[in-house]
Symmetry: C2
């Protein structure tokens, strides 16, 4: 690792949600109860939102600002044995970058109204991408250790064991 | 913006692909021709791969190391008018972070064999996440300006107009 291998990223906005602390959050957007929130984009980036309202879903890329130091084996919510970190969606990762697919309800100037949130209030936003099934939705999928716990996902809430 | 709002990220590995330059690359994994490649993970992170082989697809998070300075309005491959940057998947973004859903073929020590690549050879890897339909696959989707060009996506190759 040489110094030039370190990249800097900076927030382009802030994500606001009803989740003021990690406990009680839905663990991923698919499991949410229709929770709404807002993306407040820094005003300098507003021209980049042009034509985004045609898309029903966005991929938000953000920084897990409350993540702890990463551990390479973690015990997720959905199981009671440890798994490799990269086989989980735990926030504490070598690069604590999160991605969530959310529904876009509307855009007003620099404010994006969104639904299907699993993101902590105040989370720094790094990027917004349009969700495009041709790119983002593969065909037949296997989900390994999660298969057994899949029926537990809907409505599953976070505790503090996985941050 | 204060200095503490800047976050550092660092590569945890390198993505190898047949694409030595941006011209001729498939523009997104969904449009590929089954191209294969490898993720070479730094050896220190190998324990984090445990149980990952049960998943058929991964989300790779990486740094667009050859991205140019971002412009907030861009003319993508798939259209001939400009769109807001955040309504496109252009690599040159305020934070040039890319995400791709790829098929996992196998893991041997720190080497992941993958398929469905749209990533430039030598791209710095930032994260590996398991692809989980319950989290990552929304229901009814609209894709805005891309709707008209959707039939053009399969097999579409990159040129230099969009980097």
């Amino acid at each position: 690792m040489t110094p030039e291998d370190i990249f800097s990223v900076r927030p382009i906005g802030i994500i606001h949600s009803p989740f003021k602390e990690k406990e009680g959050m839905p663990i991923q957007p698919g499991s949410d109860q229709g929770q709404r929130g807002q993306v407040v984009l820094d005003r300098e980036f507003v021209p980049g939102l042009q034509d985004l309202e045609g898309f029903s879903h966005l991929i938000l890329v953000y920084y897990f600002h409350q993540a702890k130091s990463p551990q390479l084996l973690v015990k997720p919510f959905l199981d009671d044995v440890k798994h490799g970190l990269f086989a989980t969606r735990a926030p504490s990762r070598p690069n604590p970058i999160g991605i969530s697919v959310v529904r876009l309800l509307g855009i007003h100037k620099n404010i994006l109204e969104i639904e299907n949130l699993d993101i902590l209030d105040g989370t720094p936003l790094l990027d917004i991408k349009p969700y495009v099934p041709d790119f983002d939705r593969p065909g037949e999928v296997r989900i390994g250790w999660l298969e057994e716990s899949r029926e537990d996902i809907p409505g599953k809430l976070s505790d503090d064991s996985f941050s």
